[in-house]
Point group: C2
Chain length 189, copies 2
């Protein structure tokens, strides 16, 4: 045990350095990536605010309006959209802790929204991160739409192997933790 000059003891921590333990949620990683794209003039893509049903608001004197009763609403669209090389970009992002992706993680009207924007010519996809397997996939909207529309009644999830075979691993680095633009470039430009 080494004591530091300030008299404090040096406590050795066991830091797990698995890649899976990058310590950031997918949402934070996407925020960091989107900020990078914005700063570097690559793309303008934002997360939409969480939809909320406001029931009651107080307007106290000399201070900001305070919402005192509100409820979360189910999103009717996807969480992320914006513009890249003049094309409309639209995607949903989901984390998955198990080894297969539960279909009910994505609402049916979100699937319908993806179908619709795809039809209007947007670049549409889903980003799915398997947190325990440390892999973040770019899933083309039409691929996941097909699964949802053709699913047998019994099918409740998509196995990890399907993603490995049919989707694109999104490259990771510290500056751009989820560089989905690279996959878009590869697929469309």
């Amino acid at each position: 045990m080494v004591n530091y000059p300030n008299g404090k003891k040096h406590i050795e921590k066991v830091v797990k350095t698995s890649f899976g333990n990058r310590g950031m949620t997918l949402e934070k990683d996407l925020n960091a990536s989107n900020s990078y794209f914005l700063r570097e003039n690559i793309a303008n893509i934002h997360k939409k605010p969480t939809p909320i049903q406001i029931v009651n608001v107080d307007y106290p004197k000399r201070s900001a309006a305070k919402i005192t009763e509100a409820y979360f609403k189910v999103a009717s669209t996807t969480d992320y959209n914006g513009v890249y090389r003049a094309k409309a970009i639209d995607f949903e992002a989901k984390e998955c802790a198990s080894k297969s992706f539960p279909l009910n993680s994505i609402h049916l009207h979100q699937i319908q929204h993806l179908q619709n924007v795809l039809q209007h010519g947007a670049i549409a996809f889903v980003i799915i991160r398997f947190t325990k397997l440390d892999a973040t996939f770019y899933v083309k909207a039409d691929d996941i739409i097909n699964i949802y529309l053709n699913k047998e009644k019994s099918k409740k999830s998509i196995p990890y192997s399907w993603f490995v075979e049919n989707c694109y691993i999104i490259p990771y680095n510290l500056l751009v933790p989820v560089n989905y633009i690279k996959i878009i470039d590869y697929l469309y430009f």
Copy 2:
């Protein structure tokens, strides 16, 4: 005074039938128009939810999570975006009760956002409705950006005449109260 068979008195209301009194706010008119565009497979454009800072949430047993403290946040982007003919669409909408449009109705970072999406190739604009003058204008983003960036210190508003000379009146009908797609078609397709 005529009494109705149910005994209730017929109260004559003075209903003002000015076109300005269509009875709907710009937001409602845009929602109706966007619903029409969605239903008729013309475009997929949505209003973003109001950004809110959630401070406290209660999770009562057997009922929905209840937000008990939250505050409105200043929007860092515009209110509306989506996709039309594969192009990213991005716009802000404002009502104006006076005869000139106060510049501080639009936040500077919204102007910067419009500049940015424009640079990435989106079709960007602002919809401004003069409620008393009954006119709804399509203002190209670069036109309004120029005013904000080149404004003299003294200039605090844009006169109605500027809109008449430089912008496009958006056609109105009951089904599509704000048919801004017609202006987009005229300008870009």
